[in-house]
Structures are given as structure tokens and as C-alpha cells.
């Protein structure tokens, strides 16, 4: 019968779902037993052993009678995984008669495996190897792997290391304060790259969306007004945009609405529903309000008429996060999470459908930073997200990329200065800084640091002297970075007033 012990044990091991009859005792049982009968340790053996051990022990104990029972017990308990033999007679395993018998008589017999057993083994193989050994083999093309040239450093390192913005820096010809003029609290501002949460009106009101509320901050007086609050606290404001005249504010929400508010009356004028997902970007072109949604669709709303939804622009497959009409109202630039920049005409083509006049695919990340040059109507600046980190300058008529700079950081927002031939961009990790660039050389003029988390949005004051930055550190900072020199300002004003005198005299 001895030869069956091994076989039975083997079967009982393989049958993982069955209760293990001769498994080691639980620790608490062992402890209890050790405590009660420390002298009678021989009796414990058989019940303590692992199934594998039982097979070995059945003959090994009889062959080594000299071994003290106490020692063997301790040893077996301590190394339950060791298979056969001991260190004095290492080849004892060769003498295992039942194993030999098994190998001789049973090994080559077809195994009568039940389907569940087979499946179980397969599952084990899949778990351990990630694939079924029976059905696949892994191949690789031989030869040495191709290494990058010596001394090459992963250029992604810049993303994670503290480093100043690259590019030649230009000594500023004017004084740019390196600290913010004012710091305001913006509690609970949503740290979401895809939203556009601040806008500055021509009447000097700064609209700030803080989660489910919109506040208006008067730059001149410092007054704060709560314009609106969402009824459902789970919903939030996803975008704000002022009409050019500054009397109406468009608000996009997380429940896909586009609302129109009269700020004087503090009343909602319209609620325009046409999208099916949150509205993260808004832009005005006279009476046309364009809204970009998470679905990738851009809708034109004519705010004067009842049937406000006048056009749908389908050019993005993912969320639209950057949306700007050109100052002359001829083109709409849109940037999306699908890494595309589309330039749309203001009127549809012959087919009655809107098709983009240009599509730029160069960015490798989502494009939220979109801004038109105020003095050259066909020049556009765009900035890409973390996987791209580039600012690109485009000629939208020819479709050519005029310039590209790697900023080594996420570009969250970009604005052109109206007072200087410069741009300002807001960045994320690692410096959370604002950078002023000279146009068209794209040399760095200044870096404004202070935010402790990424910059989310930028807005410029109507006189073009101040830039507001909203950041994920829940602050708004106002930077007097484009202030016009008082002397040149006076001269300009003089020139303007003399012009108006001429106008008057002509009249």
C-alpha cells in the first residue's frame, strides 16, 4: 500500500477545492498543544505535517531511528516546503520507493482529469504567466537591443525637474514688476484644465466662476457682487465670457446649459439648451455666441432670436477647451482634447455645412490656450497641454506654422499684449509661472512666479496693462506687467487728442 500514499497525497494537493485533511494545524492550535504536552511531542507529528511531508516521512522516519523525535518535529514544522531527504543523506529522495513505483507504473498513463481540474490548471497558468502556455509562445527578434546614444538624457526630465523656461532671454527694455500687484482669494476654484473660469469685461468687471457660483469683482472700486449660484450644488460653472460691450455675461454650466446674464439687473435673460454635455468654452462674435462642449461640438447661438441654435460645428471628437473668435470676426479658432486646432469661417460653405478652413495637427496634447494677435488679424497663438508643452504661432491664411517654442511645461493659457509686441503665457508644473515672450522672436522677456499650483486661466484688463491669473492654489493674482510708460502714454494721448481736434475742425 505504500506506493499509494504518494499518489493519494499528490491528488489531494492538486484538488485545491477540497478541504486539506492532513494540512498543518492552525498556529493557535499548535501553540495550545505545545503548551499542554511539551514532553509528548512525538504524537503531534502526523497531524502537523504537510501532505508532501507525510509521504516522505512514512519511510524516512523508519530509516533514521537515531533522530530524536523532538528534533524531527521541530525541523518538519520549520521547513514544511523542503522535499525529501535531509542534509546528512541528501540523495534519500532517490530511494523513495513509492515515487519510483508511481513513475514506473502510473506516470505515463493518461490522466483522467476532470474538466474543472483542467480549467483550474489553465487559470493558474494564466495567472502566473499572463497567458496560457498550452496555446501561445512568446517570440522576440534576436540580437542586441538598440540603445540610445551615449550621454543621452531623457528629455522628459525637464517635465519633472525645476528648470527655468528655455529660449534666449532678452533683457527687458522696461520695468516689469516681478511680484503681483494684488492677490485675491478664489476659494474652491475648480482645478480643471478644460474649463475657462475667468474673464475681464470692457467695463472693468472681472467675472470669476468658483465652483457653483459666479462672482463679479470691480477692478476700480474693489466691490464684489455675487451674480449667480447654481441651484444644485453638484453642478458647477464651467465657463464664463463677456460680450464685447460688457453688459452681458455668458455662462456655461456642467449640465450643458448656456445662460445669458444681465449684470446691471443681475437677472438671467436666457437659458439656452442645445448641448448634451458640459460647456467648457465660450466666445462672442457680436450677437453670435459660440459654445464648445465636452462632446466636441461647437454651437453658434444667435442670442437675439428665439431659435437660438443656428449652427453646429463638428470638427472635434473630444472636449473643446479653447475657443476664440478673431478680432475681425472672420474666423473662429477652436482647440480640443483631440489635439486638434480648427479654424472655422464665420459663414458656412456652399453645402450649408461648416467645414474648417484649416486644421492644425501639430500639437501632441490638448489645446486650451488659443489667442488671436490683435494687430495682425491672421496670426494665431496656440499652446498645448502636458504632453505637448509647445507654443505655436500660425498664419491661418496660409496654414503655416510661423514659430514654435518648447516651454517645457503645460501651457494653460495665452494672451497677446495690446500695449507691446509681446505675449504672456500661463504654465503648470513645475514652476507654475507666467512667461512674457517677445514677438516675433519668441525670446523670453520675463518670468512671473508666485503661484504655488498651476495657472488655470488668464484675463487681461481692458486697458491692457494688467493681467489676472487664476490658479489651482485658489488665488487670483493681478500682474501689472504691460503698464505703459507714463511719458509715452502722455504722448500717445496727445497725439490722439490732436487727431480728435483735427476731426472736429473738419466737421
Amino acid at each position: 500500500m505504500a506506493q499509494f500514499v504518494f499518489e493519494n497525497d499528490l491528488n489531494s494537493i492538486l484538488k485545491l477545492d477540497a478541504p486539506i485533511v492532513n494540512a498543518p494545524m492552525a498556529r493557535w492550535q499548535r501553540k495550545a498543544k505545545e503548551g499542554s504536552c511539551s514532553s509528548a511531542n512525538t504524537s503531534v507529528n502526523s497531524s502537523v505535517l504537510t501532505p508532501m511531508k507525510a509521504a516522505n516521512r512514512s519511510h524516512s522516519s523508519s530509516k533514521t531511528p537515531s533522530r530524536t523525535p523532538g528534533k524531527s518535529q521541530g525541523k518538519l514544522q520549520g521547513t514544511p516546503s523542503r522535499a525529501g531527504g535531509d542534509r546528512f543523506i541528501p540523495n534519500r529522495s532517490a530511494m523513495q520507493m513509492d515515487v519510483a513505483s508511481f513513475l514506473l507504473s502510473k506516470e505515463n498513463e493518461p490522466e483522467d482529469q476532470s474538466p474543472t481540474k483542467k480549467e483550474q490548471q489553465k487559470a493558474w497558468a494564466v495567472n502566473l504567466n499572463g497567458f496560457d502556455m498550452e496555446e501561445a509562445k512568446i517570440l522576440r527578434l534576436g540580437g542586441k537591443s538598440l540603445n540610445a546614444p551615449e550621454g543621452y538624457q531623457n528629455n522628459l526630465k525637464v517635465l519633472y525637474s525645476q528648470k527655468t523656461t528655455p529660449g534666449s532671454s532678452k533683457k527687458p527694455s522696461r520695468y516689469i514688476p516681478s511680484v503681483p500687484d494684488r492677490v485675491l482669494d478664489a476659494p474652491e476654484i475648480r482645478n480643471d484644465y478644460y474649463l475657462n473660469l475667468i474673464d475681464w469685461s470692457s467695463q472693468n468687471l472681472l467675472a470669476v466662476a468658483l465652483s457653483e457660483t459666479v462672482y463679479l469683482w470691480n477692478y476700480l472700486s474693489g466691490d464684489i457682487v455675487l451674480l449667480l449660484q447654481m441651484e444644485n450644488s453638484e453642478e458647477y460653472i464651467s465657463s464664463v465670457s463677456w460680450i464685447k460691450e460688457g453688459n452681458y455675461l455668458a455662462v456655461g454650466t456642467s449640465n450643458a446649459e448656456v445662460q445669458l446674464w444681465d449684470v446691471q439687473q443681475q437677472k438671467r435673460l436666457r437659458n439656452m439648451v442645445s448641448h448634451s454635455s458640459r460647456v467648457g468654452a465660450l466666445s462672442w462674435n457680436n450677437h453670435i455666441l459660440s459654445s464648445g462642449s465636452r462632446t466636441g461640438h461647437i454651437h453658434h447661438h444667435d442670442v437675439r432670436v428665439a431659435q437660438h441654435h443656428v449652427a453646429t460645428l463638428a470638427g472635434h471628437t473630444q472636449e473643446v477647451c479653447g475657443l476664440k473668435w478673431s478680432p475681425d470676426g472672420r474666423h473662429l479658432a477652436s482647440g480640443g482634447n483631440d489635439n486638434l486646432v480648427n479654424i472655422w469661417p464665420s459663414v458656412q460653405g456652399d453645402s450649408g455645412e461648416f467645414t474648417p478652413v484649416q486644421t492644425f495637427t501639430h500639437h501632441q496634447g490638448a489645446i486650451k490656450a488659443v489667442s488671436w494677435c490683435p494687430w495682425q488679424s491672421n496670426v494665431l497663438a496656440t499652446g498645448g497641454g502636458t504632453s505637448d508643452r509647445h507654443i505655436r504661432i500660425w498664419n491661418v491664411c496660409s496654414g503655416s506654422c510661423l514659430n514654435a517654442v518648447d516651454t517645457h511645461s503645460q501651457v494653460c493659457s495665452i494672451l497677446w499684449s495690446t500695449n507691446y509686441k509681446e505675449l504672456i503665457s500661463g504654465h503648470g508644473f513645475a514652476q507654475n509661472q507666467l512667461v512674457i515672450w517677445k514677438y516675433p522672436t519668441m525670446s523670453r522677456v520675463a518670468e512671473l512666479k508666485g503661484h504655488s499650483a498651476r495657472v488655470l486661466s488668464l484675463a487681461m484688463s481692458p486697458d491692457g496693462s494688467t493681467v489676472a491669473s487664476a490658479a489651482a492654489d485658489e488665488t487670483l493674482r493681478l500682474w501689472n506687467c504691460f503698464e505703459v510708460d507714463p511719458v509715452t502714454k502722455k504722448e500717445k494721448e496727445k497725439a490722439r487728442s490732436s487727431k480728435s481736434i483735427i476731426h472736429q475742425s473738419i466737421r
Binding site: 501561445a136 527578434l141 537591443s145 540610445a148 522628459l156
Partner: protein, 203 residues
Amino acid sequence: MAAQVTKEGITLKGSAEIVSEFFYFGINSILYQRGIYPAETFTRAQKYGLTLLVSTDPDLKNYLNTVVEQLKDWLYKCQVQKLVVVITSIDNNEILERWQFDIECDKSVKDDSIVREKSPKVIQEEIRSVIRQITATVTFLPLLETACAFDLLIYTDKDSEVPEKWEESGPQFVSNSEEVRLRFFTTTIHKVNSMVAYKKIDC
């Protein structure tokens, strides 16, 4: 009319072509985005309505072309199950990242006589989202601190022949890893699921 139908449909050969092409551009994107090779050795190429970066290094190009050609053959025979891009540190040969593309072949399609209806445009759209996701992974994948090399593993059927110069290998898993599933695309003949596993950062 019949000609038009064939144009819209997809054959086994066409499917193998599309999938192997996806791998060529996909692997190049991984190599560029993960900074395995210097950015200067990549050039821009227009594909799937995207601007993608492909290597200009002659050795690397040669290697990739060889693998992709072989892969196309296997795809045509429906013998391939997975393609894996393994990124290892050169210093200590530790496996840091593992991009796994599971390929499901429809083995009922034996030759080019069967034409499946799926417009190339839709397939391209699906591929585009996978490639975009690969691009976007830099935002969450840990930085590869040391110089790295990559290896390509292909899981084939047990009965397929091992071609010359190819050898068998282990699965090369990342120890202590975190996994992220990406989108999939399907040509209706081949379906490709994507996944990336990377080393968990100890906090």
C-alpha cells in the same frame, strides 16, 4: 456599384495591413513620448489625421520594419495573440514599463474572399483615439530616470513556426506594477486591446 462595396469593406489582407501599420506608428509614438531615444532623431509624419513622430535612426527603422513585416505575416495567418513593448533600464536590466496590445483574431476569416463591412474612416477614428491616449500617458507615467532600451515580444500560436533570427522569450513582467487600460480598436477581423503596466512608485 459592386466596386464601391469592396472599397468600403475590409479584407483579411487589408486588416493585417492596417493593424501592422498601427503598430509601426504606435511603437514609434511610445519611443518618442517616453523619451527612449533623443527627440532630434524623430521626424514628423502625417497619419490618421494626426501629426505623429517617427524615428529616422536607420538601425531602429530597420529593426521596426523587420518586426512589423513579420507581424503582418502572422496577422494574415491569424497566429498572433499579443504584441508587447517592454522598456527596460540599461543599467540594471530592470523592467520599468510594459505596453501590452492584445490581438483578437477572427479565425473564421481564412482568405481575402470574405469582406467585412466597416468603413476605413471609422477604423482610423478608433486608431486615432488609441494613439492619442498613448501620447497622453506621459501625464501619469513615472519618469524613466535612467537610460532605457526597449524590446518587442510577440505572442504567437503554439503551432506557428519560429522564423529565422527569432527566439523564444519569457513574458517579462513589471514587478510591483500598476496597470492602466487604454482604448481599443477593431477592424472586425482583428481587435486590438491596449494596456500599459508601469512600476508603482513607492511612497
